[in-house]
């Protein structure tokens, strides 16, 4: 795995190493265009310890569907894993993702969400939160983040989970669980990018933990119609035990110009997100 061409402190590399720890052998990676196409090094070699198919943005899940069927026809027990960024998932690749989820193809889909198109220098994506500075939103984004895990829950697929690189054991546990289930499995990982989010590269893991502690990023898994909130996020169920959102915003340069009003709007958005989760949680019991 050493010798990648990622920036120092890259969270996507952390997530990739943990993927290796979680999934083990018999994996074929499909890397959708993004940072990860560059990180793996110079073709025809890659530094990911897995065979990789590099493919265009919108073709990832479609390629994986075909590979899953081909492996099945040849009686080989290999799981195709799509590794995509948030731009390749929320914006450009969404149609084929939705199609593959609807057909319930036997693949794992992992999203590494750094909340902008970081490979091209940090442009706004559908996953960028409100108030964040990017190259195309110099005054801060005016819209809220697209809530992908909820969209995937609505597709009625067997497994949806969110994770953060700050909590590797939780993430690895979810990957292991996903490998044993068959059908379309979706895992959404928050990866705080030091260069796009503008903090010191040494604080990558710290910021990933802060996102969970301030309840900005909920950790949960949704398996066969049952929602389970992970232990790291249980304190968010009560509004009084949440860590103030300011702690998360103040360490990042991209929220430097956020106004009081926008912080309120972001807080309201997080509240509504947790209300939705709690509704799902209460309805099942």
């Amino acid at each position: 795995m050493s010798g990648t061409s990622a920036c120092p402190g890259c969270p996507e590399n952390m997530a990739m190493r943990m993927l290796g720890m979680g999934l083990g052998k018999d994996i074929a990676l499909i890397v959708v265009a993004g940072c990860s196409s560059v990180i793996q090094g110079l073709a025809p070699k890659n530094s990911y310890n897995y065979p990789v198919v590099n493919i265009a943005f919108a073709a990832g899940p479609a390629t994986a569907s075909g590979m899953a069927r081909a492996y099945k026809a040849r009686n080989r027990n290999v799981v195709p894993v799509v590794w995509a960024g948030d731009g390749g998932t929320a914006d450009i690749g969404f149609a084929s993702l939705s199609g593959a989820a609807e057909r319930n193809e036997d693949i794992i889909y992992v999203v590494v969400d750094n909340e902008a198109y970081m490979n091209t220098g940090g442009h706004k994506s559908g996953s960028t939160p409100l108030g964040a500075y990017t190259l195309t939103t110099p005054e801060g984004k005016k819209q809220n983040k697209k809530n992908l895990p909820f969209i995937m829950i609505e597709h009625n697929i067997p497994y949806v989970a969110t994770a953060s690189v700050g909590y590797p054991h939780d993430y690895i546990e979810k990957l292991r669980k996903a490998k044993q289930i068959s059908g379309f499995r979706y895992i959404h990982v928050l990866t705080p990018d030091p260069y796009g989010w503008m903090f010191d590269p040494s604080r990558t893991a710290e910021v990933a933990k802060l996102a969970v502690q301030t309840c900005y990023w909920p950790l949960f898994e949704y398996e066969n119609g049952k929602l389970k909130i992970s232990d790291e996020s249980l304190h968010c169920l009560d509004k009084r035990t949440r860590r103030p959102l300011r702690d998360f915003l103040s360490v990042q340069g991209r929220f430097k110009r956020i106004t009081e009003e926008e912080v309120k709007m972001l807080e309201n958005y997080i509240d509504s997100l947790w209300e939705k989760l709690m509704k799902l949680y209460e309805n099942q019991s």
Binding site: S2, G9, C10, G41, P44, S202
Partner: protein, 87 residues
């Protein structure tokens, strides 16, 4: 034309991005007497440059590939990893 120009498939090999050790401006130094062998740095290192010494369970750094990001120093619970300037 090479094979990979027809098929967009790459195969695993170590160091496909080159020896990245020369990117470093600060170097992590492990204080072996402070290290408790919890392996938090091994878990979080983005480059897989933290190696585990089989004899005592403590860690050492592979300086051929370490980029000096400082994540290991930040996550260490006992502050056994110090970042010192290269040069």
């Amino acid at each position: 034309m090479l094979k990979y120009q027809y098929y967009p498939i790459t195969v695993p090999d170590r160091g496909a991005g080159g020896k990245t050790g020369n990117w470093r401006v600060v170097r992590p130094l492990v204080n072996k007497s402070k290290c408790i062998g919890c392996k938090a740095c091994f878990m979080f290192c983005p480059e897989d440059t933290i190696k585990i010494d089989e004899s005592d369970g403590k860690v050492y750094v592979d300086y051929d590939y370490c980029k000096g990001c400082g994540v290991c120093s930040n996550v260490c619970p006992v502050k056994a990893i110090e970042m010192v300037s290269e040069a």
